[in-house]
Amino acid sequence: MAKRIGLFICWCGSNIGGVVDVPRVVEETKNYPGVAFATDYKYMCSEPGQNLIISKVKEHNLDRVVVASCTPMLHEPTFRKAIARAGLNPYMFDMANIREQCSWVHSNDKEAATQKAIALVKRALAKVSQVEPLFESSIPITKKALVVGAGIAGIQVALDIADSGHEVILLERESTIGGNMVKLDKTFPTMDCSACISTPKMVQAAQHPNITIMTYAELVDVQGYIGNFEITIKQKARYVDHTICTGCGLCTEKCPTKVLSSFELGMGKRKAIYIEFPQAVPNKPVIDPDNCRYLKNGKCGICKKLCPVGAVDFEQKDELIEEKVGAIVIATGYDLIKWEEIYGEYGYGRFKDVITGLQFERLVNASGPTNGLIQRPSDGKEPKTVVFIKCVGSRDEAKAKEYCSRACCMYTAKHAHQVIEKIEGGHAYIFYMDVRTPGKAYDEFYRRTVDEGAQYIRGRVSKIYQSGDKLVVMGADTLLGSAVHIEADLVVLATAMVPTEGSEKIAQLAGVNIDKDGFFIEAHPKLRPVETMTGGVFLAGACQGPKDIPDTVSQASGAAAKVAALLSNEEMATDPMICHIDEKMCSGCLVCKEVCPYKAISEKTITERIAGQPVERMVASVNTGLCQGCGNCTVACRAGAANLKGYTNLQLLSEVDALCR
């Protein structure tokens, strides 16, 4: 049957019509083979415009449609729906972009813009001549989410998803949830106590009927696809049976082994059987197998003897747990850059009194190793002169990271304020490159710190050296153009935030990409900031890029909204524009399988009749749930057996031919 194409060309008011000679485009394309009806209209996307399309489809018995207007990003769905209302398959459609690609970019050359519009319309006509109806199918959805990482981002995501009525597994590799925020003392700009606002959320998560917290556990495998992930979690052996442990703490009190605490960033001690901090969730201990005397050489076992409920179990083993979820949120947060390996000018970590901002947080924290008294690590004295150095590892293309870590300007102002407030006769000097305080009430906070007497020195520090019990900080004041020497008691480095260790592995498991610095890449930096290019996998918090708590929490709620929307459906429609493999053309070389980023291709055996004999051979097979229609395989397949529906080789070649004619 002959094709009956309807061609509708839009003026977009004067947006297109002011540059492109629309009537001429109609004139020059209406006789293209297959065009049964062609017209132009002021606003195709408007209600009357859409009704025009619908009535003409019916009136002229059109079987496919081309609209020449703006970018398909904007109105392809609009027009697809319109022709569906007219009774056509919505994929019997193509668009020519004569606005962004013609009138807007060639506004000073009307003739060229018109010529290009004609060519692009012919291209669309060539394509639409080859299209075939496509049908969405549907896949069921597992109404449960996995959140990887239980910092404030992960906790917020879990709470919001759980509140919308869906089950959540909140996975954390440490023995407690909370992440970096629980280590902080006060939070800028309001200076409310970090623990006071974050621990209630931790408890809320623990008590929420829809949330299952799994601490001391890691993600080891992800299979499947949006709506239907099959995940494997490794529950590391805790050597304490949490189902019976009451958290009385007798064991931790009596354990004879003391080691440096990573929670206190090496400034305090903990036992071999330990709870990270008093408000930990769950508030039950784990045994650190690298340091426990019993696990190392079979001697001791005091905790086991003392435990009144017999919860200590040295025989416990790592356990693999399989779960099914419909969505995954990555919220693995950040670490601080290993500055000791990079910055010789600050002593490569040799000077005990050169510490990071996070260590400073522990020093001012009432529940920290010094009970909130600012005492320097070397001799426990209260420092009078404290020097802060900003952008250590951030904005340093030569030695470390190019990006800005975003929270440091503000927390350094916070720390300087704390020095002035808490230390009698305390002085705070801050070496900086710029002060960046874009945030609600942020600049006000910084100004107040300056007014209190914090001395901001614009310039870099070239060297720190020990002189007696002082640290001599040598720097430059680039505003005054002079050298600066400060004899400091304590130096605090605002070190760069980097993706947490192991992010790469999570990226690989979940099939998402990371950028050159290792942060997870969002689907679109502006318009899809919490989604990834992999369906069903979302991002929240500092794992996507450095950010402070307000931004982290907003992004977390955003991600939760996306997950809740996904899980609120029983089934989801799959995009029909995915790979199709022509089995008779497939030679089974499986190059397509190697290049598929979504692991959507596997092999299967088919039976063919060759010379009257049944012959079994292997061909490629696409999992329609996993395929995202990226088209990698279609390029890799030399014979063209792999084809992208909606963008078939035949369609693309017809378009090229039309453009070259």
Partner: protein, 320 residues
């Protein structure tokens, strides 16, 4: 070389007698002195047709594909370069390992038959060939001839990386050392020196002669598609017309289809009736892959992914 021929025959005979294989694919003496022809032997009595020497240029590996659905196993005689094709066919899932038996023969080099034919009397018959290290002595009914390898060998043999088969169930004779008689990419480098216009003129001259007989594709062990794009009608990737423009598209397309998989066996070059230096296109890609990614020659190891057939999250995407 007579000794090697004898050993190949014995091995083939044993395999056929013991019913380990139903067929042996090997080299047999051709009608001309300096040429061999593929032989397909299905009985122990037939093994006397097998031969070996410096005139076994053909790469027989592609024939394995024809027998992939046949009942029984197939043995094949391969040189070092041919053995890379066998690995490539295995990696492309075109043959299965348990259906084939590889008889590997360390290869001392193959002579260009035309050069030899030019110097030997047309009615001469071959008595024996002897490998003397850097030359071959060809003994014929009308006298003996010595051919220096440097001057008479195929280019691919002058730069051979694998005189010893990289895959073999049985190896015939002693392993041989790798000898380089020429720089592997010297000819490509020479072409690279040309200006754009000159390069274009060079290739126009070559491609315009192409008959589109597809001998190059048919012999190629990495051209194993069920339906080659050049034989498809819908879509018509390349028109069937034979002219410079269509021929150019044919050659460039094929070069990219074999890119990262071409085992540099040189067969396309050798079989072309128009003497089009097709292998130079492939070699340019080999050279670039070596320079940019340190890629080994495809087929030289099992399980190598082809440069255009791999997806890695660690790819720096510098061009984006």
């Amino acid at each position: 070389m007579m000794n090697l021929t004898k050993q190949i025959r014995e091995q083939a005979k044993k395999l056929l007698e013991e019913k380990k294989v139903d067929l042996v694919i090997g080299f047999g003496q051709g009608t001309e002195l300096a040429r061999t022809t593929p032989v397909f032997i299905d009985s122990p009595e037939g093994v006397s047709a097998l031969t070996w020497g410096p005139f076994c240029a053909n790469n027989l590996a592609k024939y394995l594909v024809d027998y992939k659905n046949a009942p029984g196993n197939v043995a094949i005689v391969v040189k070092g370069c041919d053995s890379r094709s066998v690995i490539r066919l295995l990696d492309d899932n075109q043959i299965s390992r348990d259906k084939i038996v590889v008889i590997g023969v360390p290869c001392a080099g193959q002579l260009e038959w035309q050069k030899v034919a030019d110097e030997v009397k047309p009615d001469a018959t071959l008595k024996e060939t002897v490998d003397n290290g850097d030359s071959f002595v060809v003994k014929t009914s009308t006298g003996d001839h010595t051919f220096n390898k440097k001057d008479y060998m195929l280019h691919r043999c002058l730069v051979c990386e694998n005189p010893n088969p990289v895959i073999a169930d049985f190896t015939i004779g002693e392993e041989l050392p790798v000898k380089n008689y020429a720089e592997r990419f010297a000819e490509v480098e020479e072409l690279e020196q040309l200006g754009l216009e000159e390069k274009s003129a060079y290739w126009d001259k070559q491609f315009s002669r192409c008959l589109r007989c597809y001998a190059c594709r048919n012999v190629c062990s990495v051209c194993t598609c069920e339906l080659c794009v050049f034989d498809q009608m819908k879509p018509m990737w390349v028109s069937k017309r034979t002219n410079l423009s269509e021929n150019t598209v044919f050659h460039i397309t094929r070069a990219f289809h074999v890119a990262g998989r071409c085992v540099d066996c040189g067969e396309c070059d050798r079989v072309c009736p128009m003497d089009i230096p097709i292998r130079k296109l492939n070699q340019k890609i080999h050279k670039d892959l070596k320079d940019l990614f340190d890629s080994p020659t495809p087929g030289s190891k099992e399980g190598l992914l082809s440069a255009l057939g791999e997806f890695s999250l660690g790819d720096p995407e510098e061009f984006m």
